[in-house]
């Protein structure tokens, strides 16, 4: 099977997954004991039978359930996720505003995790059972055992309140205005607009939450990379390369690490979903104006359309991330697409 056919097959599965996601969210939103009429209209309007009938008709609640699902999907395809009960704005508009901040945070955390986790995993694997290995193993175990919200508070306490190194919570200092939106990423937009002081300020706000958010995935990636290195270092081709007299560093990087990286790609892709989960919590600690803060506000105010919108967006991002991982994997390893 060649690469194009493999990618084509994976793409064919995508609509199925997206239909599944909408079906699942539809079922959940219809299994909810809370009455959407009462939730959306308020007590006074709900007492008026005409208003209720009009509402039910408008949202298709008076039709058979399969038809309701089709209406639901039709609306979704047209970018209509309903109105948020708390912000009184379309959910899609809210999400469009908040998603870039979350992606910026998750992406920064991912960069940090890869930049720290992979070298650390390689060194720990090569220098197995030495002090470096012990430090790498225990710090990654602490990373996965740490409550990320607590780490965030401690980081704010130490670096903001005590040392004064980090700026306060938020995405930008209040005295600065946001650069014109191009990508939605404040750091990138500020650079594009040539406002270097805004970019520097935004970057300084990004560092602490991104570091906190990366604590978990650094641990996961380090452990995975170390294990994968140990597997590969025992392979015949590594022994052959050494026997040929190649320098140790060259064997480690070119022959071992390159091959050990393969299974780690999967973990990196999958941990992007975990990062989105972690972002929800990190954002509430750092008052980061993203999807997580929005989800938190919606969940606590029982804003059901809003929280469903977050669910759909996050699940779709996860499905796409998985697809990219699978394709990257197939490009890197011909055995996958042949199998």
């Amino acid at each position: 099977m060649n690469l194009a056919v493999y990618i084509g097959r994976r793409l064919l599965l995508l609509p199925g997954m997206l239909v599944g996601i909408t079906l699942l969210t539809f079922v959940i939103s219809h299994a909810v004991p809370a009455d959407p009429v009462a939730a959306n209209l308020g007590d006074q309007a709900a007492a008026n039978p005409e208003t209720v009938a009009a509402f039910r008709h408008r949202w298709g609640l008076d039709r058979p359930v399969p038809q309701q699902y089709l209406i639901y999907v039709w609306r979704l395809v047209h970018g209509d996720m309903g109105m948020s009960i708390s912000t009184h704005q379309p959910v899609a508009t809210d999400l469009g505003q908040d998603l870039p901040a979350t992606v910026e945070l998750a992406f920064a955390a991912m960069l940090i995790s890869v930049a720290v986790g992979i070298p650390l995993g390689i060194v720990a694997g090569v220098r197995r059972d030495t002090a470096v290995d012990q430090i790498a193993r225990s710090s990654s175990l602490i990373g996965v055992s740490m409550p990320v919200f607590w780490l965030g508070l401690v980081a704010l306490l130490v670096f903001y309140a005590w040392l004064g190194w980090a700026p306060s919570a938020g995405q930008l200092s209040p005295r600065l205005s946001r650069p014109p939106v191009v990508t939605g990423f404040v750091v990138v937009d500020a650079l594009l607009a040539g406002e270097s002081d805004v970019a520097r300020d935004a970057l300084s706000h990004l560092v602490l939450p991104a570091l906190v958010l990366s604590s978990y995935s650094i641990g996961v990636i380090t452990r995975m990379m170390r294990g994968s290195m140990l597997d590969v270092l025992g392979e015949d081709y590594v022994r052959t390369a050494r026997a040929k007299g190649l320098p140790g560093l060259r064997v480690t990087l070119r022959h071992a690490a390159r091959n050990a990286l393969l299974p780690v790609i999967t973990i990196v892709g999958l941990s992007f979903g975990g990062l989105l989960s972690g972002a929800v919590i990190t954002e509430t600690v750092f008052a980061w104006p993203g999807l997580g803060s929005y989800a938190f506000r919606s969940a606590t105010s029982l804003d059901f359309p809003a929280i469903m919108g977050v669910g759909i967006v996050v699940a779709s991002v996860y499905v796409f991330a998985n697809l990219l991982v699978d394709i990257a994997y197939a490009v890197a390893d011909p055995r996958i697409r042949m199998g």
């Binding site: 199925g16 997954m17 599944g20 996601i21 699942l24 959940i28 939103s29 299994a31 909810v32 004991p33 809370a34 175990l141 602490i142 996965v144 055992s145 740490m146 409550p147 990320v148 919200f149 607590w150 780490l151 508070l153 401690v154 704010l156 306490l157 903001y160 309140a161 170390r226 294990g227 140990l230 979903g273 975990g274 989105l276 989960s277 929800v280 919590i281 509430t284 600690v285 989800a295 938190f296 919606s298 969940a299 606590t300 029982l302 804003d303 059901f304 929280i307 469903m308 977050v310 669910g311 996050v314 699940a315 996860y318 499905v319 998985n322």
Partner: protein, 274 residues
């Protein structure tokens, strides 16, 4: 009783001692806590750690040490219950998928793919927004989010066991499908799953604390670690309010993970070098 490589590792033994100590605290909290967890000492509100209140007091003048000790009574059972329920549901569904095969198997596996696309916290928020916050709904959320991974694991084990010679032999001598499944397949599925699931209790405790921190757990007066940390958010300078419950979570979860890792290494020699 414990495997020898486990007993030989000082770190693993130390971690086990910490886990046992936390279990003991959960049982004995009313006996060892210096004050009832809800008792308010208004004159002493926001008191720093000192001789009267070892770990200080919170904004309502409640003793933090007592609340941290009582917190173990919620986190440990909740973590265990959430994992147990997810394992039960996952094994059942995965067993059915692996046992029947065909279209049923395919449908169940696609459903698990789908569930796994929703991050736990988001799923829990959806469930809480629909059903309301509370300990039970948080447990339910973790169960709903986690059963698919157990289902996939159980299915793999069932499929592996189905192909073994002793299953074929049982069939050949005329054992009924139900008997083959119950007596020959199930027993080989249960023990790896139980081991795997005990490794996840730490993770479940961490997830529960996160949900509780977000306000999706028990009501705020209940002494629970996640919500105690949340109550310290507006009091950064009074660092002790959120620091100590956080350390409680960290020590318990780290110890559970260490025990789990060491146990896995000891039980599976093939993985020991990892």
């Amino acid at each position: 009783m414990l495997p020898r490589p486990f007993v030989r590792s000082p770190l693993a033994v130390a971690a086990l001692v910490v886990v046992v100590a936390w279990f003991a605290v959960a049982v004995a909290a009313p006996l060892i806590a210096p004050a009832p967890p809800l008792a308010q000492d208004i004159a002493q509100r926001l008191a720093p750690p000192g001789p009267q209140h070892w770990l200080g007091t919170d904004p309502l003048g409640r003793d933090i040490l007592s609340r941290v000790l009582y917190g173990a009574r919620i986190s440990i059972p909740v973590g265990m219950a959430a994992v147990a329920l997810a394992v039960l549901l996952g094994t059942l569904v995965g067993g059915i998928a692996g046992g029947t095969g065909g279209a049923v198997d395919e449908a169940i596996m696609r459903a698990t793919d789908l569930m796994l696309a929703f991050p736990t916290v988001i799923l829990a928020m959806i469930i809480s927004a629909a059903l309301g916050a509370g300990v039970w709904n948080a447990v339910l959320a973790i169960m709903v989010a986690w059963w698919p991974s157990y289902a996939r694991f159980a299915r793999g084990l069932v499929l592996a066991a189905r192909g073994r010679e002793y299953v074929e032999a049982a069939r050949a001598v005329g054992a009924s499908t139900l008997r083959v499944f119950g007596r020959h397949i199930l027993v080989n599925v249960v023990s790896p799953i139980v081991i795997l699931s005990t490794l996840d209790v730490g993770h479940a405790i961490l997830t529960f604390a996160s949900l509780s921190f977000l306000g999706l757990g028990p009501p705020p007066q209940i002494p629970e670690w996640g919500s105690m940390i949340a109550s310290g958010r507006d009091y950064l300078v009074q660092w002790w309010i959120s620091t100590f419950p956080g350390l409680a979570i960290l020590t318990l979860v780290l110890a559970l993970n260490l025990v789990g890792d060491s146990l896995r290494d000891a039980l599976d020699p093939r993985l020991r070098r990892l």
